[in-house]
Subunit: 371 residues, 2 copies
């Protein structure tokens, strides 16, 4: 069992956010992304808005979530509203006149901001709210994981790796991609996960050349590479892992592709350190594969942050200048994709620790072929 | 097996969109929501943007999706880009100077629109693009389902109902909520669904008073109501169904609650007709429950559209003036929620046919108690 997150942790997160708001000249921030509301208050509903202020925070929910919000949320006054959130928030703003209010422009839609502005102006009293976008402010805060978060990602990673080990004997010619995906997701849930963090990818043979193929009803065949990309979500936190399996005794081509990607992945994980930029990490993988004459087939970036979102900050890709803080958790997932033939991708979720990298998805890469 | 959607259907959808754009004074529309891109072109990736024009359409994808987009998409020229989409789109706009361009303000984030505007202006040549929000334009188009869509929702509804029937004997005291949810989702996948359309709700006893509770590790107990809210996604289309089960011989209170909600649901489905407004449908359910003195415990709206999204237009709730067209598919799902005790919700996915309503989630409501 994972331990419950103490109130003090949520309080610390709110303090850290307040410290970040001050230099931005913001006293209030409208938090509209549900995962960020959970991060700050503990409320895990799928709808609601949080107006986060210097001494207080107001959480509006619709009646579906009133009981749940009162039970789960901390550090916020819960208000139930049957109106659109924009109207409820606007009423509060007209009364309290906070001046400048930050908003999550990377999450809030144009229409939602339009409704908020409109509702605030729709008052007889002259009230001006200046809306200021805060970009990835919350995402940056969430980049450094505390021990409670690492515990959850580790647990999610262990379930993910364990399920892969259990399902490995079933990855055989004749099995359907979708049945393997169903089996994987079922076992995740039975192992205590809330479910898969994303739709499990099982991509066999030529379908493996589509990096984001879904599992189809195609049957696996001998002499094919099969990409399995899976991740459990547990205690709200995701893990993300990919393994590639060859069905049969590998051909020279399959072996060369597999070993190149595996070595590129190992090398990148080993070099991963706090303070590197996303671009630097990406370059390690990319140059390694260039040395194998495979750079042209590596068509995506090297990795991404993992946490409450399965894809979050930081990004490990070309031109990403932001550096990895100690305590961040990222994937390392080089891959090569060859049209008409198939693909190889190997991915782990890795903690960027003070002392170096630690793999959180501990599934062996040894038994990658079946014959 | 469901039949493949012919090219002509996608072509018809694009024609219908073009007809809608003209009265809005728009020749071009930027489609940023992946599900809408699928609806118009057949491309089912999770990322991409479509610039939809009078004679042509351009689909930009990142390299992960190039092969998939070339294979799946129709009626659009596929361009691969390694740049942010905003930059690629802006370059096209600077070259073609389309004047006014519509955008999906209910989907596009403030930051994305900001980047698009910025990139267009970042040219030496004087190019002006006037961005015009189109609200729920695509959602309105998608409200009327064609036969191919109804076929898919019906198939999803049949899998959903079938899985419920299969799992019903396991809904017993001692079973864990999360194990039942795992079983349900596994069986959906084994029955040919892509998976669950949303995280399956199994909410027992007092947890049933949270309308959107997730399945937890709580064990079901005799003498409790259990709400199960499930829906498969099949061929891209969702179904949505809720049943409530009582464990044991129902008490008078449980029976009264159950029968009131069941009758309210039946009555609302029976009265459902094309041409009614969302508010009118909602009023049928609400007044029925008011007659049972339960109106205060019905804390959400009566239903919502179902299709490519599990929650889409139209909404069946208070004040919703938009009318239901023939061919729309909606849920009807009254419920009552009593703090500390539990809840009852009964939901079906219903086709609003020319001749009247047709239930697409055919699971009996008869055997709702176990003792």
């Amino acid at each position: 069992m994972i331990s419950e997150i103490p109130s003090s942790v949520f309080r610390d997160r709110r303090s850290r956010l307040r410290e970040r708001l001050e230099p931005l000249g913001l006293r209030f921030l409208l938090v509209s992304k549900p995962i960020d509301i959970y991060y700050l208050t503990g409320f895990r509903g799928s709808a609601g808005v949080l107006l986060f202020g210097p001494r207080q925070a107001c959480l509006w929910v619709d009646p579906r979530y009133t009981l749940q919000a009162r039970e789960q949320s901390q550090g916020a006054t819960v208000s139930e509203t049957r109106e659109p959130f924009s109207r409820a928030v606007a009423r509060w703003l007209r009364r309290h006149r906070p001046g400048v209010v930050g908003y999550q422009d990377e999450h809030l839609t144009c229409a939602e901001l339009g409704r908020l502005s409109h509702e605030v102006r729709a008052s007889k009293r002259h009230v001006v709210v200046r809306w200021r976008p805060v970009g990835f402010l919350l995402d940056e805060l969430r980049m450094v994981k505390d021990q409670w978060e690492v515990e959850r990602i580790r647990a999610a990673g262990e379930v993910t790796a364990q399920v892969f080990r259990e399902v490995l004997p079933q990855i055989q010619p004749g099995a359907r991609e979708c049945d393997l995906a169903a089996e994987i997701e079922y076992r995740m849930k039975c192992s205590g996960a809330e479910g898969p963090a994303f739709s499990t990818i099982v991509a066999s043979g030529p379908r493996g050349a589509w990096p984001h193929a879904r599992a189809s009803s195609r049957r696996l065949q001998r002499g094919e590479l099969v990409i399995l990309d899976l991740g459990a979500i547990l205690g709200g936190y995701a893990a993300d892992m990919t393994r590639t399996v060859y069905l049969g005794a590998p051909t020279r081509r399959a072996r060369q592709l597999y070993e190149s990607v595996a070595a590129a992945q190992r090398e990148t994980v080993q070099q991963l350190r706090a303070g590197m930029s996303g671009d630097q990490v990406d370059t390690v993988a990319r140059q390694f594969l260039a040395g194998c004459k495979l750079a042209d087939y590596f068509t995506h970036s090297t990795g991404h942050g993992v946490g409450l979102d399965v894809h979050e900050r930081p990004r490990l890709g070309r031109g990403e200048q932001a550096t990895l803080p100690a305590g961040s958790v990222v994937t390392v997932e080089p891959g090569v994709y060859i049209e008409g033939y198939g693909g190889v991708r190997i991915e782990d979720t890795v903690l960027v620790g003070e002392k170096g990298p630690e793999i959180l998805t501990p599934a062996s890469q040894e038994s990658w072929y079946t014959g």
